[in-house]
C-alpha cells in the first residue's frame, strides 16, 4: 500500500519535472519578471495573451477534429468567419451584441453537426485524402457563399467590451484584451469540464480514441463525432467573433491568417493534445507580440513566416510537439 503511494508520488514528481513543464515554468517566470520591470513588456504580454487565446481556441477546434477524424479541418477558419457574419446579420436585424453572440454559438453548433453529417460522414471511411479534399472544398464553398450573401466589402460590428483602457501604474491594458482573454479561457474551461466530468464527454473521448471498441460498450460513435464537429464550430465562432472585435472590421478574409497561426499553435502543442493547443496558442501570441516589439526586423509583414520558422525549429527538436506523445497505433 505504501509502496503504491510512493510510486504514485514518484510519478507525480516526474511529471512535474518533465522538460515541457520546466520550459513553461521558465517562460512564466520570464514573463512575470519582464512585466514587473517594463511597462511596455507588460502591455505587450497581456495583448499577446489575448491574441494567443484566440489562436488557442481555434487551435483547440482543430485538435478536436483531428482527434476524432484524423484530418486538419481546413474549413475551420472559414466556418468561424461565416458564423461571425451570422452574428453580424443578427445584430443588423436589431439584436443586442450579446444576444446575437450566444445565438450565433447555437447556430454554429448546428452548422458543425450538419457539416459532419452531410459532408464528412459519407467519405470518412473512404480515405483520409477524401476528407481533406472535402474540407478544402468547404473552405472554398463557405468563402464563396459569404461573399455572395454579404459582399467582400468591409463591415463593422459594435465593440463587445467597449473601448475603455485601464491604467495600472502606467501599464495600459484595454478592456477588449481582458474580455477576449477571459471569454476564451471560460469557453475552454467549460469544454474541459464537459469532456472530463460528464458522461457525454467520456463517450466523445471514447468515440474519438477507439471507435471500434466504443461501439461495443454502446457509445453511438457517429453521433459523438457529429457533436464533436459542433463543439469545434462553437470554439471557432468564439475565435471569429473575438478576432473581429480585435480588428474592428469584418471581411471574408477575417480568419485566414488566424487559421495559419492556429495551425502553428496546434502543431506546436502536439496535434493530439487539447491542452497543448491552448498553451501553444498562448505562447505563440505572446512570443509574436514580444518579438514584434523588441526585434526590429520582425515587422507585421514577416510575422507569419517568422511564426512558421519558430515552429520549424521546435519541430526539429521535438517532432511530436511540446505536449505530444509518440503515437503507437496497434492495428
Amino acid at each position: 500500500m505504501s509502496a503504491v503511494a510512493a510510486t504514485q508520488q514518484n510519478r507525480v514528481a516526474r511529471a512535474a519535472f518533465r522538460p515541457v513543464n520546466v520550459l513553461l515554468l521558465a517562460a512564466a517566470i520570464f514573463l512575470l519578471v519582464g512585466s514587473l520591470t517594463s511597462q511596455i513588456f507588460a502591455q505587450q504580454t497581456v495583448a499577446g495573451l489575448a491574441q494567443g487565446a484566440v489562436y488557442g481556441s481555434l487551435a483547440l477546434a482543430l485538435v478536436l477534429i483531428y482527434r476524432a477524424t484524423e484530418v486538419i479541418n481546413f474549413a475551420q477558419g472559414e466556418l468561424a468567419m461565416a458564423t461571425t457574419y451570422i452574428a453580424y446579420q443578427l445584430i443588423q436585424w436589431g439584436l443586442s451584441y450579446w444576444l446575437a453572440f450566444f445565438l450565433t454559438l447555437v447556430i454554429a453548433f448546428a452548422l458543425g453537426v450538419l457539416i459532419q453529417v452531410v459532408a464528412i460522414r459519407p467519405v470518412q471511411h473512404k480515405s483520409v485524402i477524401a476528407v481533406v479534399i472535402v474540407t478544402v472544398g468547404l473552405f472554398v464553398l463557405i468563402d464563396g457563399l459569404v461573399t455572395w450573401k454579404w459582399g467582400a466589402d468591409i463591415k463593422f460590428m459594435p465593440a463587445p467590451f467597449g473601448q475603455q483602457v485601464y491604467h495600472w501604474g502606467g501599464v495600459a491594458i484595454s478592456r477588449q484584451d481582458i474580455g477576449t482573454l477571459l471569454l476564451t479561457v471560460l469557453t475552454v474551461v467549460l469544454l474541459w469540464v464537459l469532456f472530463q466530468f460528464t458522461k457525454l464527454g467520456l463517450g466523445m473521448r471514447a468515440a474519438a480514441l477507439r471507435p471500434a471498441e466504443a461501439v461495443l460498450v454502446g457509445v453511438r460513435v457517429d453521433r459523438m463525432l457529429a457533436i464533436g464537429w459542433g463543439l469545434a464550430a462553437v470554439l471557432g465562432a468564439v475565435a471569429g467573433l473575438m478576432t473581429e472585435a480585435n480588428q474592428f472590421i469584418l471581411q471574408p478574409s477575417l480568419m485566414q491568417a488566424v487559421l495559419l497561426y492556429a495551425f502553428a499553435a496546434a502543431v506546436l502543442g502536439g496535434l493530439e493534445s487539447p491542452a497543448g493547443a491552448v498553451v501553444g496558442g498562448l505562447m505563440l501570441g505572446v512570443f509574436l507580440n514580444l518579438v514584434g516589439q523588441y526585434v526590429h526586423f520582425v515587422t507585421a509583414q514577416v510575422r507569419l513566416p517568422f511564426a512558421f520558422a519558430v515552429l520549424l525549429a521546435v519541430l526539429l527538436v521535438k517532432p511530436s510537439g511540446l505536449f505530444g506523445r509518440k503515437v503507437v497505433r496497434k492495428v
Binding site: 467520456l202 473521448r205 471500434a212 461495443l216 460498450v217 454502446g218 496497434k330
Partner: protein, 235 residues
C-alpha cells in the same frame, strides 16, 4: 428452457473472403459455452457476427429478438458485452473512466455498481486514476472483464481471454469467469485456444473447423471425444 442466444446458418465475410460458412449454435441462459478451434476456424468472427462488427447474414436472435439489422451500439444496448481479442481497454483513459464507460448506456453513474465490481476486482480501487495503458496485460484483461461486468450484460462475449498471459493469470481469469457465472448468473460465450482450460470451465462447447461447426456437446462429452483429444487437448 429457450435459448438466450441462437445463431442459425450464419455466414460472414471480410471483403471477398468468406469466414463463416453457416454456423448454427445456441447458448442457454446461465451457461458458459466455449467455442474452440484452430486459428482461422472462425471463432473470433462468430463473436463479431453476434455484435455485428463484421458483414454477416443468417438468423441471429437474442432472447427471441432478431439482431439482424441492429447496429453494433444497439446490440450492446440490448445487453451484449463484447470483450474483443486484445482486450479492448481504452489505454488512454484511466481505470475508472474505463469502468464508467461500462455504465455508459445506463442512467445514473458508476457509483451504484462500484462495490459489486470491487468485490471481484479489489485491486482496481488503488488504481482508479492510473492510465489503463500502463497496466500489465493481465490487469488490462481483468479491467476489460470488470468493465463488461459493469455493463450488466445478459450475454458476455469473451474473445481469447488467455491470449498472451502468464498461466497463473489465465487460471485466475477463468476462476473469476466461473464465479461470475455461478454467483451472478452471467451467461458467457467464450472463444478460447486453450481447449483444456475452456472445457474445464464451460458447460458446453462447440468446435469450429473452417467456418462451420464440426462438433458440439457437453464439455465432458467433448473431453472424452477421440478427435477433440487428439487435435485440441494433445493426448
Amino acid at each position: 428452457m429457450t435459448a438466450l442466444l441462437e445463431l442459425e446458418d450464419v455466414e460472414a465475410r471480410y471483403g471477398p473472403v468468406k469466414a463463416l460458412h453457416g454456423v448454427t449454435l445456441s447458448v442457454d441462459e446461465g451457461q458458459i459455452v466455449a467455442v474452440l478451434g484452430a486459428n482461422g476456424a472462425g471463432k473470433t468472427t462468430t463473436l463479431r457476427a453476434i455484435s455485428n462488427t463484421v458483414r454477416r447474414s443468417g438468423h441471429l436472435r437474442l432472447a427471441g429478438r432478431s439482431l439482424g439489422r441492429l447496429r453494433p451500439e444497439a446490440v450492446a444496448r440490448l445487453g451484449v458485452a463484447h470483450v474483443p481479442e486484445g482486450r479492448g481497454t481504452f489505454a488512454e483513459l484511466t481505470v475508472w473512466e474505463n469502468l464508467r464507460l461500462g455504465a455508459y448506456t445506463r442512467r445514473g453513474s458508476l457509483k451504484a455498481d462500484a462495490d459489486g465490481v470491487l468485490a471481484y476486482f479489489p485491486w482496481l480501487d488503488d488504481r482508479r486514476h492510473q492510465q489503463a495503458g500502463t497496466l500489465s496485460g493481465g490487469e488490462q484483461q481483468m479491467l476489460a472483464l470488470a468493465r463488461a461486468f459493469v455493463q450488466r450484460p445478459r450475454l458476455l462475449l469473451l474473445d481469447e481471454p488467455s491470449l498472451g498471459l502468464a498461466p497463473v493469470l489465465v487460471t485466475e481469469i477463468f476462476r473469476i469467469i466461473r464465479e461470475l457465472n455461478e454467483k451472478e448468473g452471467l451467461t458467457v460465450l467464450v472463444v478460447e485456444q486453450n481447449a483444456h482450460l475452456a472445457l474445464q470451465v464451460a458447460h458446453r462447447a462447440y468446435v469450429l473447423e473452417v467456418g462451420t461447426v464440426a462438433l458440439s456437446g457437453a464439455s465432458e462429452e467433448l473431453q472424452a471425444h477421440e478427435s477433440v483429444r487428439r487435435s485440441y487437448l494433445g493426448y
